[in-house]
């Protein structure tokens, strides 16, 4: 029997979820979830019990789908989950280690189970263990690994068969700050440079900000929002922090003329600009949304400063934290 890896539909790399409902016994966990993802880095956010892990299990075809449809890599997960799984990697939050095996043995074993020939699986296991930084520890029994090493090993086993998408459930759980940054860098590299789809389920909003391009927010099993990760970047009202020296009164009066509101916070002027009313110059018009929003506002403030002979020390768009947006969305 040939391995399944070669049967994966390579042309369709999308994930399509429509009207997905799921309940454990009579307790509904997912209610009418709808979204479509192309290869991207997606953060899955939500409070405890919002259905994040269950959604990932539905995407993996690990639970029977009651109502709705999940299509992954062109395969209907109710009928052909096994075929789709050959193109998916899964890093569970808890466990995920088979005791008694060496790191390289475990990764190669799971590679073989993904349909890889045994020699390919072993060769590939060495490669991915190098990539995750476990090259020196690969022959040690994985039972003896530290928490950080176990997380890396779990990432390696998710990558061994070179999936199109990897689903990561709390990948930085239990890691020290350095280990956390290191594993996030690996995940970011996969998502941003290696064209691999990543779904990152986590409680740590900073992790999502570091890795993801967009977020899905779940609350009580419902998909509450789907946003780009530069939250507030496209909002017309933006707050800019301004600091400098010169004729402050005149400068402030000039700012008030072009802005919605100007307030003082210590030495900082907080200027709320309505970007929708500002015309960009051609130099900034072709940039992406985030630089556009920032540059148009800065450009307007610079003009006022020049007109009032005010020396600017600092002008920047106040970053809107993902946490702020997230907590607003889920009303925590």
């Amino acid at each position: 029997m040939e391995g399944l890896a070669i049967k994966v539909n390579r042309s369709d790399t999308s994930i399509k979820v429509s009207n997905l409902n799921f309940a454990y016994l009579r307790d509904p966990v997912l209610k009418g979830v709808d979204f479509t993802l192309e290869t991207s880095a997606v953060g899955l956010l939500g409070p405890n019990g919002s259905g994040k892990t269950t959604l990932l299990r539905c995407l993996l075809g690990q639970v029977p789908l009651e109502k709705g449809q999940v299509q992954v890599l062109g395969h209907d997960m109710a009928a052909a989950a096994r075929l789709a799984r050959a193109g998916l990697g899964w890093m569970p939050e808890r466990g995920g280690i088979i005791p008694g095996m060496s790191g390289v043995g475990l990764v190669a074993y799971l590679g073989e189970l993904s349909g890889m020939p045994s020699r390919d699986a072993m060769q590939r296991a060495h490669e991915v263990l190098h990539f995750v930084g476990l090259a020196d520890e690969r022959y040690r029994k994985c039972d003896d690994y530290s928490q950080g090493m176990k997380q890396r090993l779990k990432l390696a086993q998710a990558l061994v068969h070179d999936p199109h998408w990897i689903f990561l459930d709390e990948p930085t759980s239990g890691l020290d700050p350095r280990g956390r940054v290191s594993i996030l860098e690996l995940i970011r590299d996969l998502a941003w440079n290696k064209n691999m789809g990543v779904i990152l389920s986590t409680h740590l909003l900073a992790d999502v900000e570091a890795v993801c391009k967009e977020i899905l927010v779940l609350k009580n099993g419902e998909l509450l929002a789907r946003e780009k990760v530069n939250p507030g970047g496209m909002e017309p009202l933006q707050v800019f922090e301004v600091e400098g020296f010169g004729n402050e009164e005149a400068f402030r009066a000039g700012l008030e003329a072009i802005s919605e509101n100007v307030t003082l916070e210590g030495r900082l002027m907080m200027v709320t600009l309505n970007l929708a009313g500002l015309k960009p110059t051609s130099a900034v018009a072709d940039d992406g949304p985030e630089p556009f929003a920032a540059k148009v506002g800065v450009e307007a403030i610079l003009k006022v400063a020049v007109a009032h002979d005010f020396a600017l020390r600092r002008v920047r768009r106040r970053p809107v934290s993902l946490a702020e947006e997230f907590y607003k969305m889920v009303e925590v």
Binding site: A5, G96, L110, G115, R119, L159, D162, K194
Partner: protein, 284 residues
């Protein structure tokens, strides 16, 4: 260029053959116990009766009835003699299967290994097939393979008239019996293993199932209770398979009743396995 400087690279599939998932699971599971010195000693101990039987067969063929009178059937090379041998091996079967099989699913459940297995292109049948093949292999190690060895040994030292029986018919009977009973025992032991997350828990239940029911069966025999003898777990396997060896019932109940009991147990085991093996995480 050193590998660590390459970063992540995509995998280019080769033309090499990949194996079915059940075989990959079985291969690893069969190799793993051989790394334990204790397991090897256990297997050697399980073969001691085989060596004794071989010596008795040799003695019987050389010294005739004199040895047979003292051997208590150990020197028999007819089908019935091999069924008796398989019955005598039940303690080896009990211990070896307990050591090999108790943790097969329990450990995966404890360490959330099921979630890993079922994130691969792997179905329930492949998983159970792989795990069952491990138990089946070790069951054969203490039943079928020794019988093959004994048949071959007997063939070389026995009169040529018994060659057909020793080389073809007896191995065939034993093979059919061992495959059927081995599959049944594997499924039942896997069902036990799927019910807990600790090997010790499974071993306790396996001990009750094998030794407890045999003790009950013996008590039933002592008080002449015919129907109660049917509780003997392994006895039912031997009783159901007795017809294959052209011999009478091994328990006081008819062979077909034992067969029904075995089938009911196997059916129950399959139902338990279908219910218990799910890729859910166990929060400990």
């Amino acid at each position: 260029m050193p590998v660590y400087e390459r970063g992540y690279t995509h995998w280019e599939p080769s033309n090499r053959k990949s194996w079915p998932a059940w075989w990959i699971i079985a291969k690893r599971g069969i190799a793993q116990p051989f790394k334990s010195r204790w397991m090897i000693m256990l297997l050697v101990a399980a073969w001691i009766p085989t060596v004794i039987k071989a010596v008795v067969i040799w003695g019987k063929l050389k010294a005739g009835d004199l040895i047979d009178a003292f051997s208590g059937g150990w020197g028999s090379i007819d089908p019935q003699g091999f069924l008796v041998y398989l019955e005598q091996q039940r303690w080896s079967v009990f211990v070896v299967l307990a050591v090999v099989g108790a943790g097969l699913i329990a450990t995966d459940r404890r360490d959330n290994g099921l979630s890993l297995y079922f994130s691969r292109p792997l179905g329930l049948r492949s998983y159970i097939g792989g795990k069952g093949a491990i138990i089946l292999f070790y069951y054969f190690m203490v039943t079928l393979f020794p019988v093959y060895a004994l048949c071959l040994f007997s063939y070389f030292i026995a009169p040529s008239a018994t060659g057909m029986e020793l080389l073809i018919l007896t191995p065939l009977r034993v093979t059919v019996y061992c495959v059927l009973s081995g599959v049944g025992l594997s499924l039942i032991l896997l069902a036990f293993s799927s019910m807990g997350t600790r090997s010790l828990f499974v071993m306790v239940w396996w001990t009750i199932m094998v030794m407890g029911t045999e003790a009950l069966g013996n008590i039933a025999k002592g008080i002449n209770s015919t129907s109660l003898q049917a509780v003997n777990f392994l006895g039912n396997f031997h009783n159901a398979g007795a017809a294959l060896f052209s011999t009478g019932d091994r328990l006081a109940v008819p062979g077909w009743i034992s067969l029904l009991i075995v089938l009911a147990m196997v059916g129950g085991a399959v139902a338990i396995l279908r219910k218990r093996i799910r890729p859910v995480e166990v929060v400990s």
